[in-house]
């Protein structure tokens, strides 16, 4: 009577030991929701079909929806450019102040660390719209410094209002990135007699930029979409102008869908590439280092 060799299990299966089976990564791919180019096509089609549908249901005595749209598109694009301007400036202000706040959060001085932590948490957990109102109604419409009057128009206030949450989020991104570096980097720098400031600016922060880029771009996307909030406080951005255009056309209900679809489409073609680029950068940095 011969025993089968140990390497071949007697049963038909190759092996019944779980550890011997090839490792198979459970795939979560199908649960992932991601914007795809065809979503943009879908939006464009919605925009187009609502336009033609509206045309088919209106009488000949008014301008066709396409004609109306073409009349207003240049203005709406200008409004959208203003949204981009607000987003870029808010991001710049928020990033500059937020970086300082984030660094203050890792300060060795207790009061600096605690107060910056509080400021960060306060503005991070406040609704953006409330912060916008806060900036609108608490800031004066002009400043008077030494006899020189500096006007403070609404759009500047909107930039300040939107940069507050950006600042708080950037602060957390900076703090998180600094803490995510291995402590060996700090120790090596310390043992080479770098001051804390030198360590931070020469060694730690340059390495953090890579890590901060994807969440920072994500934040920018969210901010861009949030710029339409400025319409509530009357800044002439794309939503405000859409409302005015609709009013000028006599509040025709058949115009609502095409106009707002157009606005959606504008945001999509601006934000989608940013989202794609972020995903690309994330996957790139995930492998290296």
């Amino acid at each position: 009577m011969t025993q089968p060799p140990l390497s071949q299990p007697p049963s038909g299966k190759k092996t019944d030991m779980a550890v011997m089976l090839p490792f198979k990564q459970k795939s979560y791919e199908r649960f992932r929701i991601e914007l795809k180019p065809w979503h943009g096509v879908l939006l464009a089609m919605v925009c187009f079909f609502t336009t033609t549908y509206g045309y088919a249901t209106t009488g000949p005595e008014v301008d066709s929806i396409l004609t109306v749209m073409l009349r207003w598109i240049p203005l709406l694009l200008k409004g959208f450019l203003f949204n981009i301007l607000i987003s870029v400036l808010s991001m710049a202000v928020g990033t500059a102040v937020g970086t300082m706040l984030g660094l203050a959060q890792i300060s060795l001085i207790g009061p600096v660390r605690h107060s910056s932590w509080f400021v960060t948490q306060f503005f991070r957990n406040a609704p953006w719209l409330v912060l916008l109102f806060f900036a609108m109604y608490l800031l004066p419409f002009e400043f008077n410094i030494g006899g020189i009057t500096i006007p403070f128009p609404d759009w500047v206030k909107a930039i300040i209002g939107l940069s507050l949450p950006v600042m708080a989020n950037v602060s957390e991104v900076v703090r998180g990135a600094v803490l995510s570096l291995p402590s060996g980097q700090w120790e090596a720098a310390e043992s080479l007699a770098y001051t804390r400031r030198q360590t931070l600016w020469l060694i730690i922060l340059p390495q953090c930029v890579k890590r901060m880029l994807p969440p920072w771009m994500n934040l920018y996307s969210i901010l861009t979409m949030a710029t339409v909030l400025a319409f509530i406080v009357g800044v002439p951005e794309v939503m405000t102008l859409t409302g005015r255009a609709l009013a000028a056309e006599g509040e025709r209900t058949d115009l609502l869908a095409p106009f707002y679809s157009f606005v959606l489409f504008l945001f999509f073609i601006y934000c989608y590439p940013i989202a794609r680029w972020t995903v690309y950068l994330e996957s790139k940095f995930a492998v290296k280092n």
Binding site: E187, A188, S191, A193, Q198
Partner: protein, 248 residues
């Protein structure tokens, strides 16, 4: 501050160090003369690494005294930066700056910390990279180098600061076996040139070859020490004997 090289370069006296309730060092004392090579061996958790990290004030101590060239390290008014300019350190995990090339890693500290002339530093850095046998790798990033190569860059980086003493904290422990040798050769050459070195190591053969004194630590105390021949041949303490029998 009046220190002459007739006196110990480093004098450790009755050092106690606790992390929370856990006392890692329970009264450690030893001396290191200029040009001496000291190896500290012992089981994991015996406080070897903590001990040498106290010498350049990466860890502060709770009690006792550490004099480095006559300067007290256990002093709240200590100028840590001045101390660290004299004491170089190499780590187990290399800790090179990954965003800088090998040459930049070596050049950065002398330029930024010692404020030396860039041209002079570059010449010195290139010579050091050659000395650790990494000629041609000057412009490689740490990620492109093997563990052994990275560790040699780390040694060159430390040497570029012209330290008086070098601390090596288990510098070969994270390396592949075949690259351990190249790092040990570099350290041996350094020791032969008269650099004062304190090494925490698990390489017994190497300790035997290069050390002037071998110290054995266990549970936060120095149990035994001696010249390598007597230490490895005639260990007296049972704990040392047991440790050596497990290792050798």
């Amino acid at each position: 501050m009046s220190w002459s090289d007739k006196e110990p370069m480093i004098s450790v006296r009755n050092v106690h160090k606790s992390f929370g309730d856990f006392e890692v060092l329970k009264g450690v004392s030893f001396d290191v003369m200029k040009g001496e090579v000291i190896c500290i061996i012992g089981p994991s958790g015996s406080g070897k690494s903590t001990l040498i990290r106290c010498i350049n004030a990466l860890n502060d101590i709770n009690e006792g005294s550490i004099l480095v060239e006559g300067q007290e390290v256990n002093d709240p008014k200590l100028n840590k930066l001045e101390l660290r300019k004299k004491v170089g350190m190499v780590f187990q995990q290399y800790n090179l700056f990954p965003h800088k090339t090998a040459l930049e890693n070596v050049m950065m500290a002398p330029i930024r910390v010692l404020k030396e002339d860039k041209k002079e530093v570059e010449a010195r850095a290139r010579a050091l990279i050659k000395k650790v046998r990494l000629e041609g790798k000057e412009n490689a990033y740490p990620g492109e180098l093997s563990g052994g190569q990275q560790q040699r860059v780390a040694i060159a980086r430390s040497l570029a600061m012209k330290p008086d003493v070098m601390l090596f904290d288990e510098v070969t422990a994270a390396l592949d076996p075949e690259t351990v040798g190249e790092v040990l050769i570099t350290i041996k050459e350094l020791a032969e040139e008269g650099m004062t070195c304190i090494l925490v190591t698990h390489e017994m053969g190497f300790a035997r070859e290069v050390a002037d004194q071998v110290y054995f630590t266990d549970k936060g105390l120095i149990v035994e020490h001696g010249a390598p021949e007597t230490f490895f041949e005639n260990a007296k303490d049972p704990r040392t004997k047991q440790f050596l029998s497990q290792i050798l």
